[in-house]
């Protein structure tokens, strides 16, 4: 097991390095318009000429040194201009272009909000997916199976942002229920907070439950075709014992990985839900900084999100290997 863990962690480190390169390069293609925008922002109060201003802004953004130096500085393994070593390795994501606030502060302030949404979504997904998926498998090609699968595909097909908009508007029109606009932190008003997160969380969970349900069904079908299940049938066990004791345990292990793989989609979906239900989470930060062209914040958010997903997948993989010894010896 320990050899497997070490191998996985080595792979993760390489992947993480590649992730930083992708994040770094994606904002290095900043359109020239950003520099012009920043120059225009300061030009009026300045006595410098246009060219000098451009040079100054480029220096402020750190664009005046070779690209590898920019990357190493941003990474935090190469001294900054003032000789200090500080970068993402030290937890320093730099400052926002416009508000001049610490990006790491902005990001970590918002993580709990996205996390809460994610947890509600995953719980909803599992509560819906497992029972229907299992039922669908043990009654393959019956009316119940068709119904269950239709529900699963319906959950995937119905756009969350559409349902969200509908829920946000129709009850408000018909019952005079005002959708929450202000965000209540969970420490201040627990029930108001839960009430605010429940609907977007459930909507996000629904989309996820569709895929999880189908995966559960497929895995159950696979396991139910195994010889040991046939043996269990032939020795006269009841169906419930076969399904619960013999099939379910083995079928649900791969489903765990699907939850890990779903994480990027889940986090992506939070952008839309946070926008509709005006929750100040990571997705909102992303949208706000995109519209104000605050690219250092954008790359910070992308990096944090990618790291979260990477670590979550590592945990899922290790759990998987721990549950299923065959994986370790591949």
């Amino acid at each position: 097991m320990s050899a497997y863990v070490i191998r996985r962690i080595l792979l993760i480190v390489t992947t993480l390095l590649l992730v930083t390169i992708i994040v770094f390069l994606s904002v290095r293609f900043i359109p020239g318009s950003l520099v012009e925008l920043m120059v225009a922002d300061k030009y009026r109060e300045s006595t410098l000429s246009m060219d000098e201003m451009v040079a100054q802004v480029r220096e402020q953004l750190g664009l005046d040194v070779p690209i590898w130096e920019q990357y190493l500085r941003w990474l935090g393994v190469y001294p900054q201009k003032d000789g200090k070593i500080s970068g993402i390795f030290e937890g320093d994501f730099g400052e926002s272009l416009w508000s001049q606030r610490e990006i790491s502060y902005e990001i970590f302030r918002r993580i709990p909000i996205s996390l809460e949404l994610g947890i509600i979504a995953i719980i909803t997904a599992l509560l819906v997916a497992f029972p229907i998926g299992i039922f669908s498998a043990i009654r393959q090609d019956t009316g119940g199976d068709y119904f269950g699968r239709s529900v699963a595909i319906l959950f995937i097909a119905v756009p969350g942002f559409w349902l969200g908009t509908m829920i946000f508007v129709y009850p408000a029109r018909w019952f005079g229920w005002p959708p929450p606009i202000v965000y209540y932190p969970i420490t201040q008003d627990f029930w108001a907070n839960i009430g605010q997160f429940l609907i977007p969380g459930i909507l996000m969970g629904m989309a996820m439950s569709g895929t999880t349900m189908r995966m559960t069904r497929t895995m159950m079908l696979e396991v139910l075709r195994q010889d040991y299940v046939r043996t269990a049938w032939s020795k006269g066990l009841r169906e419930r014992a076969i399904v619960v004791r013999h099939a379910l345990k083995n079928a649900l292990i791969p489903v765990v990985t699907i939850i890990g793989l779903q994480l990027p989609i889940l986090i992506g979906g939070s952008v839309i839900m946070e926008q509709i239900f005006s929750l100040p989470g990571m997705g909102r930060l992303m949208l706000d900084s995109l519209s104000s062209r605050d690219y250092p914040v954008v790359s910070g958010v992308n990096l944090v999100m990618a790291t979260v997903i990477l670590v979550a997948n590592l945990v899922v993989d290790l759990t998987y290997a721990w549950l299923d010894p065959r994986i370790r010896y591949r």
């Binding site: 792979l11 992947t15 900043i30 995937i156 559409w162 079908l221 992308n302 999100m305 997903i309």
Partner: protein
């Protein structure tokens, strides 16, 4: 129809009537997968609406009726009009064309990239595989919508940009499945056989491996159409995808959201269209997967819980 005859032992011949593959798939789709057939009909409807939009739509998608802004559904405007006085039904029908472009374009680019990356990585293996897979790993840990929004903000909104960006995303994400399929095909004896007679690599790839990974490629193509349409409309909903006045369902929904208090039907229709289309495509894709994947074809090894226990009971009573 082609007839194949096989001699088993002298004197007995077995005649097999075999339908052409495509006809067989269609017939089995309607016989065995009623939901898949419904999906297929929805897909056909989308294609028809997309191709014949300019004949089907009562008005142009950008035709403004100044006198009737935000008009409720009526006999003149079946689904009402939007904030500028444009017929919503016409815009939905033209929106089907945009969705069709996006769905087919993204899946097309995606499948080609899937095949390229999957073949390279799976067939050559070793160091090539290791390096390519690390890049795929790194790419796959970005939340889809975040990376799309970042790239779309940089390249600017537009239909072609949207298709290429989504196509590349789907192309990299789906390559894993194809790589797995290539690796499992590579281990077959017939690949070893052609290699031993000195067949060049490119020929093995094109003639022996590619045809055998067609089933997963077709499945990925169908399944990602629905996802692509949904992602496109989410991105357009957030304002980074397809810019107005091009009628994208996501963009229409986000515009309709602003006029929700005056005209609540505006946001309803595009979402409904989206839900029906994605539902149909997914149903169709699902049925196709079941039909093309021989392991799920049923037959002897097939488990059928309730039916099996009933059969067992019948056997028991028969014994008595």
């Amino acid at each position: 129809m082609t007839e194949a005859t096989a001699k088993i032992s002298p004197g007995t011949t077995i005649k097999m009537n075999r339908r052409p593959f495509l006809v067989d798939v269609v017939i089995r789709l309607f016989k065995e997968k009623p939901l898949g057939a419904v999906g297929a009909i929805i897909v056909l409807l989308l294609l028809c609406a997309g191709i014949f939009a300019h004949w089907l739509a009562p008005y142009g998608y950008n035709e403004v009726w100044v006198g009737s802004k935000l008009a409720p559904p009526s006999t003149r405007f079946w689904l009402g009009t939007d904030n500028l006085g444009r017929d919503v039904l016409s815009r939905i029908i033209y929106g089907a064309r945009i969705s069709m472009y996006v769905g087919l374009g993204v899946s097309g680019i995606g499948v080609v990239l899937n095949a390229l990356i999957g073949l390279l990585s799976g067939f050559f293996g070793g160091r090539t595989d290791l390096i390519i897979q690390r890049f795929v790993d790194a790419w796959m840990c970005f939340p889809g919508l975040f990376i799309i929004l970042t790239v779309m903000a940089l390249v600017g909104p537009g239909v072609p940009q949207m298709i290429v960006v989504l196509g590349v995303l789907y192309g990299i994400t789906g390559s894993r499945t194809i790589r797995g399929a290539v690796i499992s095909v590579k281990q077959n004896v017939y690949v070893e056989a052609v290699r031993s007679i000195g067949c060049p690599r490119w020929r093995i790839l094109l003639k022996h491996i590619l045809p055998n990974i067609m089933a997963p490629l077709i499945i990925i193509f169908t399944v990602s159409i629905g996802g692509a349409i949904l992602t496109e409309s989410s991105v357009s909903f957030l304002g980074y995808g397809i810019p107005p006045p091009i009628p994208s369902w996501g963009g229409m929904l986000s515009q309709g959201r602003l006029d929700m208090d005056k005209a609540p039907w505006l946001a309803f229709w595009p979402g409904l269209a989206l839900a029906i289309v994605v539902y149909g495509i997914n149903m169709f894709g699902d049925a196709l997967r079941d039909l093309l994947d021989p392991r799920l074809r049923g037959g002897l090894g097939r488990y059928s819980g309730g039916k099996l226990s009933k059969r067992l009971k019948r056997l028991k009573t028969a014994e008595k």
